[in-house]
């Protein structure tokens, strides 16, 4: 980038200010902004419509879970990182899988070449999963797993690891992402066409509602939608609409909304436009509560109460002057906490170019600990409630979301909207607009298009040892050699047979997993029945 001095003197700022979503910001907010129905629309934490938080005491009762996303190489390296993070005070686990695992390929598949262990940990079979959690009692920690199209398989692995440890499924606590709609929209990790993929999601919701009362079978996500380039308004609208779609499918299956809704969870981005993010979370809770009660007939408060995990925005990190990222992450984490998140991942300062080093992830964890224990912001629920600016922004986020809901409904619902590339095009347009703003210096990114430093020293980054790929191939070969091949064949046949019926697929997947069928084998078997998916991209 060019390094001309700033073109505008400090005194001569814009005349018009907007949030990152484009919402105009007034010169002043005052009491005239307060909503007339403030008791109803703002309310109290722990009470409908939960604008101020899902729990009465919020962090006075219990802090958010400090849950750092981690995973690279083989299960040995990741198990070591899990222990490191737990030893340094994190309070929940979060698992990052590698691209082959996310896309349903075994580590020795030709499509996996060069990709094993690079973006996360390689998991091919139950044997891998057991070692991943070596020395970690699953009855004493909650675990999140970021995996979507193959989620049912990874959940089966996790349940079986618990079983081996003597922890029954109903005692296991945690979350599996499973949110396939946002894959077609944004994260782009798919194995099957939309309808069979949705069937699997409903199977998981149904099975977990009966067998895993402490588990979240879906983490309805906006993080990835935002990272792909959406605005906060789009993130809010598309995420909630995805959530409503899962609710509708579960109701169509014949489930009672109050039997499954309490275990639906969410995952939002924590981006750098501070007040807009806080307003986004508060609007999300209010919208979800209203729709669950009035549209979907929920009777239990737990069904109306939106709870979420947040991650600071990866896309806001810069490769230039990486220490600036500590500041960005801190502001973003603070917004998530002031917005009432239940669980939080803070990015490491070196993540613009690689997975985090130990030192960098420690600083990220410490960021949460400083906020929790030194800043005082956790000592009362929703401290920004009643702020004229924040309440107005919350109302505006809500209004914008409902506008998007109407447009998606006009298209025939979210699945149809995805088929027509509606959310994908909105995201591509928003991403392009943002990039033009940066290119033209109408939006400043410190260190990138202003306050640039020539000849920066290089930050040491994590390198994944390519030898880990053959190490994983050996692990996989050993699993195949040890197992009863006939039992695996029988289990895979049964899985295919069940997939062609309306049976819930969790039991046959668990059986196949127990026999040491690999993830790739199970996905390939299901693809024989379901087919595969190719997108028609728009840019």
């Amino acid at each position: 980038m060019a390094t001309e001095p700033r073109q505008k003197p400090l005194e001569d700022r814009e005349t018009e200010f907007r949030t990152m979503s484009g919402q105009p910001i007034a010169p002043l907010y005052g009491p005239e902004e307060a909503p007339v129905d403030r008791a109803e629309s703002i309310g109290r934490p722990g009470e409908y419509p939960f604008t101020r938080g899902p729990y009465e005491s919020m962090y006075r009762g219990r802090l958010w879970t400090m849950r750092q996303f981690a995973g690279f190489g083989t299960v040995e390296e990741t198990n070591e990182r899990f222990h490191y993070l737990l030893d340094h005070g994190q309070t929940g686990l979060s698992t990052a899988f590698d691209m082959p695992t996310l896309m349903g390929y075994d580590s020795d598949h030709e499509r996996s070449l060069g990709e094993v262990g690079r973006e996360g940990v390689a998991v091919d079979s139950l044997d891998d999963m057991e070692q991943l959690f070596d020395g970690i009692p699953l009855g004493g920690v909650t675990t999140s797993m970021t995996i979507n199209a193959p989620a049912a398989i990874l959940l089966a692995f996790y349940v079986l690891v618990g079983e081996k440890q003597g922890v029954p499924a109903e005692k296991l606590g945690g979350t599996i992402q499973t949110d396939i709609l946002k894959e077609y929209i944004a994260q782009k990790e798919w194995c099957f066409p939309i309808e069979p993929a949705m069937r699997l999601v409903t199977d998981m919701i149904e099975w977990c509602s009966r067998n895993m009362p402490r588990w979240h079978p879906v983490s309805i996500s906006g993080y990835h939608i935002r990272e792909a380039g959406s605005t906060a308004q789009q993130e809010l609208a598309f995420t909630l609409k995805d959530g409503f779609t899962y609710v509708e499918r579960a109701l169509e299956r014949g489930l009672d909304v109050d039997d499954f809704a309490p275990r639906l969870s969410f995952f939002f981005n924590a981006h750098v436009d501070f007040f807009e993010e806080i307003a986004k979370y508060r609007a999300a809770r209010r919208i979800w509560a209203r729709e669950m009660r009035d549209t979907y007939g929920a009777k239990r408060e737990e069904s109306m109460r939106l709870r979420f995990h947040a991650q600071t925005a990866g896309v806001s990190l810069t490769a230039q002057q990486p220490l600036n990222n500590v500041v960005r992450t801190s502001l973003e984490a603070l917004a998530a906490v002031l917005g009432g998140t239940q669980s939080l991942h803070t990015n490491s300062f070196d993540e613009a170019l690689a997975l985090p080093t130990e030192e960098a992830v420690r600083v990220a964890l410490r960021t949460q600990q400083v906020i929790a224990f030194e800043s005082g912001v956790a000592n009362t629920p929703d401290p920004l409630g009643g702020s004229w600016f924040v309440e107005k922004l919350t109302d505006e986020m809500e209004r914008a979301a409902y506008e998007y809901f109407a447009r998606i409904d006009e298209l025939g619902g979210m699945v149809e909207a995805i088929r027509r590339n509606f959310p994908q095009r909105e995201i591509a347009d928003a991403a392009f607009t943002y990039q033009r703003e940066v290119d033209e210096r109408r939006r400043i990114v410190v260190g990138v298009n202003d306050f640039v430093q020539e000849d920066e020293p290089q930050t040491p980054i994590l390198r994944i040892d390519p030898a880990l790929e053959s190490k994983q191939a050996d692990r996989l070969a050993a699993t195949r050699a040890r197992r009863d091949g006939a039992a695996v064949e029988a289990a895979l046949s049964e899985l295919k047979r069940a997939a062609a019926t309306e049976a819930n697929l969790m039991p046959p997947i668990i059986d196949a997993a127990r026999a040491r069928a690999t993830e790739g084998e199970m996905i390939a078997a299901l693809q024989e029945v379901f087919g595969t998916y190719t997108e028609s991209p728009v840019f």
Binding site: M1, M99, P100, L102, M103, Y105, R111, S112, L113, G114, E115, R118, E119, Q187, K188, E189, E227, A228, G229, V315, T318, A319, Q320, A352, L353, A354, L355, A428, A431, F432, Q435, R436, V438, D439, V445, G447, V448, N449, Q458, I461, R463, I464, T534, E535, S536, P537, F539
Partner: protein, 142 residues
């Protein structure tokens, strides 16, 4: 000296491997199209073989490989090798994505003309591709 009608620059924007991060690739594809170039966006999950075939079939002047999965040191060399094998080694090859500085010299030695890392400006990329492709046209016409 100049052709009566300027020949349009043809660029393939490709996503090799399993990487699903397509935000940057789509922005570049659109910027190149807005700059008057003919853009073929391959979409996701392309094998090196598929990319090389697209470059050849589309008679591309340039190919931009976008990789944010860390698999670039496996996938980029394979694309470059396939293009060479099939006698198409004057196509401008650029790479974009999360590429550590240490890997850039090796990529350049393979024949990658430029590596655009996070923070690169769109105009810089468009200009680079335009001038590289125009040079290629001049070489072909002379």
């Amino acid at each position: 000296m100049e052709a009566a009608i300027a020949r349009k620059i043809r660029v393939v924007v490709a996503k090799p491997g399993l990487d699903g991060h397509d935000r940057g690739a789509k922005i570049i594809a659109r910027a190149l199209r807005d700059a008057g170039m003919e853009v073929i966006y391959t979409g996701l999950h392309q094998t090196p073989e598929q990319i090389a075939e697209t470059v050849i079939q589309e008679d591309a002047d340039a190919v931009g490989l976008s990789i944010l999965s860390g698999a670039h040191m496996t996938l980029v060399p394979r694309v470059v090798a396939l293009l060479k094998e099939q006698g198409v080694d004057d196509v401008l090859v650029t790479v974009g994505g999360t590429i550590p500085a240490d890997d850039i010299p090796e990529l350049k030695e393979l024949g990658v003309a430029a590596v655009f890392t996070p923070g690169s400006g769109t105009d810089e990329i468009v200009d680079f591709i335009r001038s590289g492709a125009e040079e290629r046209h001049e070489r072909e016409e002379s």
